[in-house]
Symmetry: C2
């Protein structure tokens, strides 16, 4: 139950997939913390990490983050997401008043996972808050693939639905790809269809949708006037849902991009060359202060629970980047929580609006 | 006419597109050489480039390239391409004998460009040499888009055709994308369809075809036992047809990849970090010896004509990498010509064979 509650600000299917990885690791938070320390020992052999939970733990909310020692501006994802939702509200209203069309987002939920139910509830709330109509189908755990495909197909055909999300993970007896591939590319607001990714990679082509979390990262940079063009950017993690599309987006913005992954050697050294770092690996506090070029801008996609007996639930959330160290070196940093998380669902709403506008040829 | 003859070993539509860029620049070879010098001055301000044509000019054939000062092994693309063609010949024969199917490649040529006619002729020759059946449609310069689409459609439906190439450039009154998009993705042996590129970018997905030139680059590394996994790779150039897919391929092979492009700062410094460099920008001798990490492996995709009054045609071909300097620093290097060039068409034949095998479910 705890793990179903901690990701309430990251609620597109994107995030749930990312989190799924974290959640598997977090069945035992003590183990996870130990893994974290081990990993840091491995990666930074000359640093003592025995006091990790004290020295590399503070992930403050924007309000109290700018201590005297902190140089970094806090990139307030919660505030930016709020602004974007307000902008979307205005556009939704304008669309409704001009052509009588209300954007619609459909979510398909299969099974009884509490965390999935929470995500779906949050999406519904977010839709409500901006005036987007939400549709929901809940199918039982033992539904057949065919039944799910039938729901997808019916939303594909429904003109009041402009975006379709299949909440992941699906029950293990289903082949995820079969179901995701059935979603009409015009309504695939997650943006994970290979055709979308291909267009994202290609110069002179435009994807129909940009995946929500990476889009949120770039949007944060934009709204904080961080210049991307000509900058060196490092993306840590090469997942299909965050790292890889984030790298493609940075490249579209004319950054010089390097992707770091599990096979990379000299991770620390390469990261230290970056003006912009986007980290999306799900490894708590992996990126230490010594990895960061002074003045770099840091976007932390990781949301990792670590044991904290002083916290009300016995754990707290930290990013991939050691906030306490990083904020003394970087020029700007996203907190965890309250950074990238709230942007994901804002971008989902944005993609749904974009889809409705495109389908109805509304500018 | 000269420019129609100099690219005879790079004859897929891939290359013709790349070369098109070069050809535009090379209307005046003197100008191009001057541009090269200017550019080098700009990029390496402390180096004298006044004697560029002497010091950075030698792009020998494999036979005479290993002078005493050269450390680098020459990666002999011509020989590797020959080996691959022999392997393809065996497979084509085996397929014919086992199931009576002969792979077929169709090329659509529109207009009277002599260079395009040369490429098409070379493709036909290459097909003949390995036993692949070739089909050809030549349409006049003033054909309509509709007529070209009709040819594409008829090859799409023809079961004896397993690969379709539309020779580029098309006459200016046609929209290239409309015609390329009409080619069945199962027969798109160029591998440029966004769906293919998307699959190339995504982990856990497989493209139907890998674009010929980048595939040739990786194949050269493989055949010369160059380890890619965990290595730092720099791709210079981010074109849809070479740079970008080459980067995606290197990443699939677990390299840590950085793409350098026109907006990149510190190009020299970044390039010097690379264990593997793939250059595909079409700038003669841009990559100097000082840009190269000792022991790096260099794959030079550029084929650039530069003025050389002592050469029979008044020009000679050089790569993007200053061969004379680079071969003293690198551990291995592709010559120009005779490096990547011959691989492109070998990969086109390979893609056609793959397509025929897939369509006929032949292992």
């Amino acid at each position: 139950m705890a793990s179903s509650m901690i990701f309430t600000d990251c609620s597109s299917s994107t995030t749930s997939r990312l989190i799924h990885f974290n959640r598997r690791s977090s069945n035992n938070n003590t183990l996870l913390l130990r893994q974290c320390v081990d990993q840091l020992r491995l990666r930074t052999p000359n640093r003592s990490c025995s006091s990790l939970s004290i020295h590399c733990s503070s992930s403050p909310t924007p309000a109290n983050s700018e201590s005297e020692a902190s140089l970094a501006k806090v990139i307030d994802g919660k505030a930016v997401a709020k602004t974007i939702r307000d902008e979307i509200t205005i556009e939704v209203t304008r669309m409704k008043e001009s052509i009588g069309v209300v954007p619609g987002l459909a979510v398909i939920l299969v099974g009884d996972r509490k965390d999935s139910a929470t995500y779906v509830r949050n999406k519904k709330k977010a839709c409500d808050s901006v005036g987007i109509k939400s549709f929901e189908v809940c199918l039982s755990e033992d539904s057949s693939e065919e039944e799910v495909l039938k729901s997808v197909s019916s939303f594909n055909d429904d003109p009041s639905v402009h975006g379709i999300l299949v909440q992941l993970p699906l029950p293990s007896h289903m082949v995820e790809q079969n179901i995701l591939n059935a979603v009409s590319i015009e309504k695939d607001v997650d943006g994970f269809h290979p055709l979308n990714i291909g267009r994202l990679a290609m110069r002179g082509r435009e994807p129909l949708f940009v995946p929500c979390t990476p889009k949120g990262c770039i949007e944060l940079l934009r709204r904080y006037n961080v210049e991307i063009k000509g900058k060196r950017a490092v993306v840590i993690g090469r997942s299909n849902i965050v790292g890889m599309p984030a790298a493609l987006l940075l490249q579209r913005e004319d950054a010089t991009v390097t992707i770091i992954h599990s096979r990379t050697k000299n991770t620390e050294e390469i990261t230290r060359e970056a003006d912009i770092i986007i980290s999306a690996v799900g490894q708590p506090n992996m990126v230490r202060g010594s990895w960061i070029k002074p003045g770099a801008v840091l976007i932390d996609v990781g949301i990792n629970p670590v044991e904290d007996l002083s916290a009300p639930r016995g754990y707290r959330l930290v990013g991939d980047i050691c906030y306490e160290e990083a904020c003394k070196v970087a020029s700007a940093i996203t907190p965890v929580p309250g950074g990238v998380g709230p942007m994901t669902i804002a971008m989902l709403l944005s993609n749904t609006l974009t889809s409705a506008k495109r389908i109805h040829n509304f500018e």
